[in-house]
């Protein structure tokens, strides 16, 4: 064949169509840390290595255990006893020679206390805080029953080594939080699983939710001139069928205003008027199309809520303030867009420049498309000027000794360039992307686990409300949290010892109750059969669940890295028995 075997754009063609060159560049410069190379973790990295991240590091002190063989595709029987991080990293590297892979065989909990800066070398951290225990231990290897603090002579079962306690997870979260590094926490446990996304501030310029911006309520001068140049009554039958619906709707609005100077039309009234304006609805399909779009011309234009929230965000006000830390480029553009809308856009955002397809003749359609494009370019030029003046103003301010409150140290957020010690810069490409997507931009601030639910002022009724839904997947979130607390106390997972199932059920129930109490949700419970099921599965990591949950987690990682699409807010929980998933904002 004609293609040399080494072309990235060919290899990545199918995904470039989802996130474009910009998203791909972000992936190709991102460094990802995986804590624990269990089946779920290996699946996540597989789905990130294939599309071509820059590099990954696996942090895992565990050797390959027999239990890994049944669920982790990337380990072989002869690997038993070898460092799991090494084995998995080597296998993953084989899949894409453009991706670098490293492994560190240290304990995450030790690293966290001795060398926390290790965790700050990455753009994204994935925590798979779970290890499938081996085949049911025989009675002889059973640690003392009920001992909540095993004596030093009783080694902690290997299956839980490398795992972080609830406190340590909170410490890791705080560490990453300060530098705005996203943390994705993932669990596959029996037939249940969850993915939780956390980040102090996540900004999305391109969520891929475009809506047409036609300016029908208040046509800008060039559009008005085009509308004025068309005289529907003077056109012959053929020419009438070529008039774009945008022009028809503007004409209908003018007619309405003339006839009803004081009352604006309802969508259905305008629709009727448009249909009445047609000479022959069978032939004039463009009038039918216009009637279907009539609602777009009615009501007052408003900036969509999420975008408005961004423009009204306090971060916008801080831009250019003396003594404030240097703002992130996102907020500099946001400020410019806000000022543009207030001062010269008459409440409108910069025009995205695109027009939807419509029934129209070539000439008129092209003319219309050109008008919107010109509008976009002139708005863009204005935003550029505004950004430039804000940037020069910021750079002339006495340099604040404190760095930005967010993303305050390397690595810079992916896909953005900034000189940390030097002056503030905004890439032209970022201004352009902003202007094309101004009505869609989203900023999401997540919560830390320690701040979730009742503890941070969310109505205490929240968990109760989720739990009152029969068979809510949220039950599994409660159970997974309870399992972690169980493990922190008993240094093993519930149900892993054949002769401890009944006591474990009792102990796990206790953890569930305490958890609910902590959320201020007394009076609600988790049904017994769910507790039994959780204990019965013996903490097994099933590959089907690992693949599914790992797939979802890696998809969220891609959203976080590319800054495109909106990542889950904030926790996805899956119940594999009922095959139902739920998303919860905790």
């Amino acid at each position: 064949m004609s293609h040399p075997p080494d072309k990235k754009q060919q290899r990545y063609d199918r995904q470039l169509r989802l996130w474009g060159a910009h998203g791909q560049a972000a992936l190709e410069s991102s460094h990802v840390l995986l804590i624990n190379g269990n089946a779920t973790g290996a699946e996540i990295l597989k789905n990130l290595v294939l599309p071509g991240i820059a590099s990954f590091t696996i942090l895992d002190p565990s050797p390959v255990l027999p239990s890994d063989l049944g669920s982790n595709f990337f380990v072989d029987p002869e690997d038993i006893g070898k460092p799991r991080a090494k084995v998995v990293a080597e296998r993953l590297r084989e899949m894409n020679e453009d991706v670098a892979g490293e492994w560190v065989g240290e304990s995450p909990s030790t690293l966290l206390s001795t060398n926390p800066s290790f965790f700050l070398r990455f753009h994204l951290v994935v925590l798979c805080n779970h290890n499938s225990p081996g085949p049911s231990s025989s009675a002889s290897s059973t640690p003392p029953v009920g001992s909540s603090t095993p004596s030093p002579s009783t080694p902690t079962p290997q299956s839980t080594s490398g795992l972080l306690s609830e406190k340590e997870v909170a410490a890791l979260e705080d560490l990453l939080w300060e530098r705005n590094v996203p943390l994705v926490m993932v669990r596959s446990y029996g037939l249940a699983g969850m993915v939780r996304v956390g980040r102090k501030e996540h900004r999305v310029i391109d969520p891929h939710t475009p809506t047409p911006d036609l300016r029908l309520q208040t046509p800008f001068p060039a559009l008005q001139a085009l509308v004025d140049s068309v005289n529907l009554d003077a056109l012959d039958d053929h020419a009438r069928t070529g008039v774009p619906f945008v022009v028809i709707l503007c004409k209908a609005m003018e007619k309405w205003k003339k006839e009803n100077p004081t009352t604006p039309p309802t969508a259905s009234a305008l629709k009727k008027l448009v249909l009445a304006m047609s000479k022959d609805l069978n032939r004039e399909e463009n009038f039918v199309e216009a009637s279907g779009q009539a609602y777009r011309a009615c009501g007052k234009y408003e900036i969509p809520r999420t975008a408005r929230n961004v423009l009204e965000d306090p971060e916008c006000d801080k831009v250019g303030v003396v003594g404030a830390p240097p703002p992130h480029p996102f907020w500099i553009v946001a400020r410019a867009v806000r000022d543009f809308a207030r001062e010269e856009g008459a409440g409108y955002l910069p025009h995205p420049g695109s027009v939807p397809d419509m029934k129209a003749d070539t000439g008129k359609y092209v003319e219309l498309a050109t008008i919107y494009r010109q509008k976009h370019l002139s708005d863009l030029a204005s935003i550029r000027t505004r950004v430039a003046s804000v940037v020069s103003q910021i750079n002339s301010l006495p340099r604040s000794t404190s760095t930005s409150s967010i993303d305050s140290a390397p690595p810079p957020a992916v896909g953005e360039t900034r000189e940390w010690a030097g002056s503030v810069q905004v890439k032209d490409e970022e201004i352009e992307r902003w202007c094309k997507n101004a009505s869609q931009v989203v900023v999401k601030r997540y919560k830390r686990v320690k701040d979730e639910l009742g503890e941070a002022g969310v109505e205490a009724g929240e968990p109760a409300r989720h739990l009152s839904q029969p068979d809510s997947p949220f039950l599994h979130y409660v159970l997974l949290r309870a399992v972690d607390r169980f493990r922190d106390v008993h240094h093993r997972f519930p149900g892993v010892l054949a002769d401890e199932v009944e006591p474990d059920i009792r102990l796990l129930k206790k953890q569930v109750q305490e958890l609910l109490k902590g959320w201020g949700s007394q009076g609600v419970t988790v049904p017994d059969e769910y507790v039994h099921e959780t204990v019965r599965c013996g903490a097994a990591e099933l590959h089907a669940i690992a693949a599914l949950i790992g797939g979802i987690a890696s998809q969220e990682c891609i959203k976080l890295i590319t800054g495109q699409y909106v990542p889950v807010v904030d926790t996805f929980v899956f119940d594999g028995i009922k095959s139902v998933g739920g998303v919860y904002e905790l």
């Binding site: 290899r11 063609d13 070529g242 690992a546 693949a547």
Partner: protein
């Protein structure tokens, strides 16, 4: 590692019974592409030991961003075999059989399908899905259906007479374009791309017998006839130019004909341009580079002297990617157009040396072909004042490319195996408990993986509301009248009413019509091993109709003329004649396309296209000639 050790976690989390059933089960996996790679891995790690994989595709570079069982050294090898070998490396104990073949081949007959416990589809196109659906109905085996598009996907279970089948819901067909839009009044980039790909490319380089591209709507109505005849005239003129192929003046001749002469001729039809912006012809001497012009006049190719035009970057990933994602200037498009024409002309003449009836076919991943289509479409867009597209976008529209990533395939394969767990649970999970899973592009608080209830069979579905009977017979001995006897005879199906027999929508027998055929053997009417007959039985007296699908298995040396299995006469469902008439147009579509999806993909779907992942299914096979 012993088996029991490997399976301990399964026995624990599922049950010992289910683990055993999974180990004993035999799974047919159709497709070893994006979903297939993931599915094979997930099945093996879920205690499934016996898997047969069928895929007719070979590995392409663009597969490697998600099909993780394949690596660079596997490019051009058979997907089915490489998937098997890669999976065995990780799990040598598994029993995997691979076929590099089309699932529609006669070797994969009803008996083959009956050999499996469950069939799992990892296919990319409607036609193959429809076919496997029918075979599973015939063999009475549950089918786990699945598909992905970008970040979206779905999976559900199909079980005969318990759930809707794949064809119970009508499918959206690919969009077609009127000839006049493509030929003389394009208004959108896609019109120019369709013209470049389906008209100019196939006229110049397609095999001579290549039929009209189905994307062009050639139904003769509303003045279409006139357009089509004009199109034919132009084709004749183009043929004359083709004779100059291989000479240095060929690229210039094509350029001047399609972007100048033809445009001027259109311009001369003044009526057309009264209310439309007229097109602007392109002038070769103004647009071609000096180097190009020299090539046209002098013998031999001059290389890189003087002010050479910038060529497409050949290597250097970043540079090439940028070049593909920017809109070319008209001069650049002209350069790419002329250069690709020369490359394709040389290739065309080479393939014709070995086979005068052959030609080149459109392949979106073949760079010179795609360069030609992108440049042609842009020049035409320029002529008509339509916005031009970058090569990257043109490729998406011309190639009906469906975006694909590893993540959604992994998720959907996981769901499929959860479906399998439920299908094989000894205490039989009610089908209502096996939800239809839909993976959406999650946006913040929206659901990522939704569960919907499985739909009931559509009572007027032409595919599943039928009887399924298998006949084993010697096709050289059995005659059509024996088939009629099978349908009507009281020892067999015993159905009353008028019988008509079809194969692939072609009528081969009807009571009171085509009766001459009754004495023909099945072989003589091309009904051979693995084929199926669609038999309609119209019982006027009772006011009901029945449909029977009869699957033919050829057997030598049978003790009797035929043996039957499958549905008995009483099992065959009826449709009230009146209802049957009304739903007559609910026939299953033949073309490829996509299923219902939200937003983003609608645009893609209009051009047809494929799910992950490519399995090319041959065009409709032999047509039956009755002489």
């Amino acid at each position: 590692m012993t088996d029991s050790g490997r399976l301990a976690h399964l026995e624990c989390a599922l049950s010992a019974d289910l683990t055993k059933t999974l180990g004993d089960a035999s799974i047919l996996m159709v497709g070893a592409g994006g979903i297939g790679c993931e599915l094979l891995k997930t099945l093996l790690l879920s205690g499934v030991k016996n898997i047969t994989v069928v895929d007719l595709d070979t590995i392409d570079l663009s597969n490697l961003n998600r099909q993780f069982l394949f690596q660079k050294q596997h490019i051009s090898k058979a997907k089915a075999h490489v998937a098997r070998e890669s999976a065995l490396r990780f799990n040598p104990e598994a029993n995997i059989v691979s076929h590099h073949a089309n699932i529609k081949d006669p070797q994969f007959d009803v008996a083959f399908f009956r050999g499996f416990t469950v069939v799992m589809n990892a296919l990319d196109n409607l036609e193959a899905r429809s076919y496997v659906n029918l075979m599973c109905l015939a063999a009475d085996r549950p089918l786990v259906e699945a598909g992905t598009t970008g970040f979206q996907g779905q999976s559900y279970v199909i079980k005969r007479r318990k759930t809707a089948c794949y064809d119970c819901l009508p499918k959206v067909l690919p969009k077609t374009y009127a000839v006049c839009t493509i030929r003389s009044t394009p208004s959108l980039p896609i019109h120019c791309i369709v013209w470049a790909k389906s008209y100019l490319f196939s006229q110049l380089f397609g095999p001579p017998s290549e039929s009209e591209d189905p994307v062009l709507d050639t139904r003769e109505d509303e003045g279409n006839a006139e357009e089509i005849s004009k199109l034919k005239d132009e084709s004749e003129a183009l043929k004359a130019i083709k004779d100059a192929m291989g000479t240095d003046k060929f690229p210039r001749m094509v350029f001047e004909k399609v972007f100048n002469t033809d445009v001027n001729r259109l311009l001369s039809m003044h009526d057309m341009w009264k209310s439309r912006k007229p097109p602007t012809p392109l002038v070769y001497d103004e647009l071609a580079s000096e180097e190009e012009k020299e090539t046209q006049t002098r013998k031999g190719r001059s290389k890189g002297k003087g002010k050479a035009q910038k060529n497409a970057p050949e290597s250097g990933d970043r540079e090439r990617l940028e070049w593909e994602q920017k809109v070319w200037s008209v001069e650049e498009s002209v350069g790419v157009f002329l250069k690709s024409l020369r490359v394709l002309a040389t290739r065309y003449q080479e393939v014709r040396k070995s086979d005068p009836e052959s030609g080149l076919s459109f392949d979106k991943d073949d760079d010179p072909v795609m360069d030609f289509v992108a440049a042609t479409a842009n020049l035409r867009a320029h002529v008509y004042g339509i916005p031009q597209q970058c090569r990257f976008n043109t490729k998406q529209m011309a190639g009906s490319i469906i975006p694909a990533v590893a993540t959604s395939n992994a998720i959907i394969a996981g769901v499929m195996v959860l479906h399998l767990f439920k299908l094989l649970t000894p205490s039989e999970v009610p089908l209502s408990g096996i939800k239809r899973a839909t993976l959406g592009t999650s946006t913040g608080r929206g659901t990522i993986l939704g569960a919907g209830s499985n739909e009931a069979p559509n009572p007027v579905c032409a595919v599943c509301n039928a009887g399924f009977v298998v006949v084993e017979t010697d096709v050289e001995k059995a005659k059509l009248k024996d088939i009629v006897e099978i349908v009507k005879g009281s020892d067999h199906l015993g159905l009353k009413g008028e019988v008509s027999i079809n194969h692939k929508n072609l009528l081969i027998y009807e009571d009171d019509d085509l009766e001459d055929n009754v004495d023909k053997t099945l072989q003589e009417v091309h009904i051979t091993h693995g084929k199926n007959l669609q038999i309609l039985v119209d019982d006027d007296d009772a006011g009901v109709k029945r449909t029977v699908y009869l699957f033919v298995l050829h057997r030598d040396n049978l003790p009797t003329l035929f043996t039957l299995s499958g549905d008995k006469g009483v099992d065959i469902p009826t449709v009230a004649s009146r209802v049957a008439e009304e739903s007559n147009n609910a026939k299953r579509p033949r073309e490829e396309g996509l299923e219902e999806r939200d937003e983003g993909t609608k645009r893609l779907r209009t051009d047809g296209g494929s799910h992950d992942d490519p399995i090319v299914i041959d065009e409709v096979e032999d047509t039956i000639e009755l002489d």
